[in-house]
């Protein structure tokens, strides 16, 4: 939003009804979402931003998330910065970023210290082993869910790209920058050419 904009209701018809949040509100809102987010913050971010505070419509949220999803890096972190800066400029981005990461980093650092101290205790070893097995299962379920739309569409190009990256990184254990240095331009170029063909 331009800084010279007049009252929220007039200036931003594309935003939802609530007034734009202040810096402290941004920090607190993202801290809450983050601390509620076991096994992923995204669900809570949607709930907080769209349903609870009405800061965005579902469409705006999806659009913003789509942007953050194709950019590299942790999605929710990107989302916090893009979201915060949309309302309060750079300071808003920093406030949301700090709210999202500050409190959980403190908690995780304490857990890290406890793990460094007690990680070799037999009982804890067993518990952590059990948790990591389940956590791997959860990750696999996410991969499966994301793959379903691609499998349904049966697009050979995306399935080949998916498998090639999986083999290069998962089986051959090649360095990620090298793999993506080849795969990204290639995939973008092929997608571009195919789209042009469809439109021609």
């Amino acid at each position: 939003m331009p800084p010279d904009s007049t009252p929220a209701a007039l200036a931003a018809p594309e935003f939802s009804t609530a007034s734009p949040p202040g810096l402290i509100a941004l920090f607190v809102a993202f801290a809450k979402m983050s601390l509620a987010g076991f096994g992923g913050v995204l669900v809570w971010a949607r709930r907080g931003i769209v349903e609870q505070h009405h800061w965005m419509t579902p469409e705006e949220f999806n659009e913003t998330f789509a942007l953050c999803h194709f950019l590299p890096g942790p999605n929710v972190v990107n989302l916090s910065v893009v979201f915060g800066s949309r309302f309060r400029g750079v300071a808003g981005g920093i406030a949301a970023f700090a709210g999202l990461l500050g409190p959980p980093v403190v908690i995780v650092t304490i857990l890290a210290a406890l793990y460094a101290r007690f990680g070799e205790i037999e009982v804890l070893r067993h518990i952590l082993a059990g948790v990591s097995c389940a956590a791997v299962g959860l990750l696999m379920s996410v991969v499966f869910r994301m793959m379903m739309p691609l499998l349904r569409k049966r697009e050979p190009v995306s399935l080949v790209a998916l498998s090639a990256v999986f083999i290069a990184v998962g089986l051959l254990r090649l360095p990620l920058p090298a793999v993506l240095g080849v795969a990204m331009p290639l995939s973008i170029a092929i997608t571009f050419v195919l789209r042009r063909k469809v439109h021609a």
Binding site: F38, V41, P74, A112, G130, C133, L138, M140, M184
Partner: protein, 176 residues
């Protein structure tokens, strides 16, 4: 730059990895494992599986696995540096791109790039699943727990936290 100082290594390692984390933090797990376990020997295989478990159990974004790796390398400073290195570069990039897109909101290239990158990110997350399964599932019982957790998460709307806790209980009971 002092190559001997582990804090610099953390900064450099995770700053670089973040830029290649296509589709989110979990896509970068294979590279984190490669660098932290195989190249730099910061963690053992088992410790890597442990910090992954702890990062999933704790609140906040899943990317905080880097906080745990950072702590094990250089204490509290390492934890903070690793987290910022992983999150700040891409946050700045996201800010820049969002400003750019605000000006040309109907451009078609974002959709094109997304279509091109989604399969890559799924391939990377699949690789994450494989690498973590190889470190965590050392017994048939463990692999069974992973399979059941995956099935439950796909087929039900159960809160993931319960699945993790159930895994912990099975571990505590000595099943794994």
């Amino acid at each position: 730059m002092n190559a001997e100082n582990p804090v610099w290594s953390l900064l450099w390692t995770f700053g670089l990895i973040s830029l290649f984390a296509v589709g989110g933090g979990n896509s970068a797990i294979p590279e984190m494992h490669r660098v932290a376990v195989d190249v730099r020997h910061w963690l053992t295989d088992q410790q890597f599986a442990d910090v992954f478990a702890i990062s999933q159990l704790s609140p906040g974004p899943n990317v905080l696995i880097v906080t745990l790796i950072g702590y094990s390398v250089a204490g509290v400073v390492g934890a903070v540096v690793a987290t910022l290195a992983m999150c700040v570069p891409t946050a700045v990039l996201a800010y820049g791109v969002s400003q750019l897109m605000a000006r040309s909101s109907h451009a078609s290239w974002p959709g094109l790039i997304r279509t091109a990158l989604v399969p890559l990110s799924i391939g990377l997350m699949g690789a994450s699943g494989l690498i973590l399964a190889l470190t965590a599932d050392r017994t048939w019982a463990a692999a069974l727990v992973t399979a059941i957790a995956a099935l439950l998460a796909v087929a039900t709307r159960l809160n993931p936290l319960w699945i993790l806790l159930a895994g912990g209980c099975l571990g505590f009971a000595g099943f794994i």
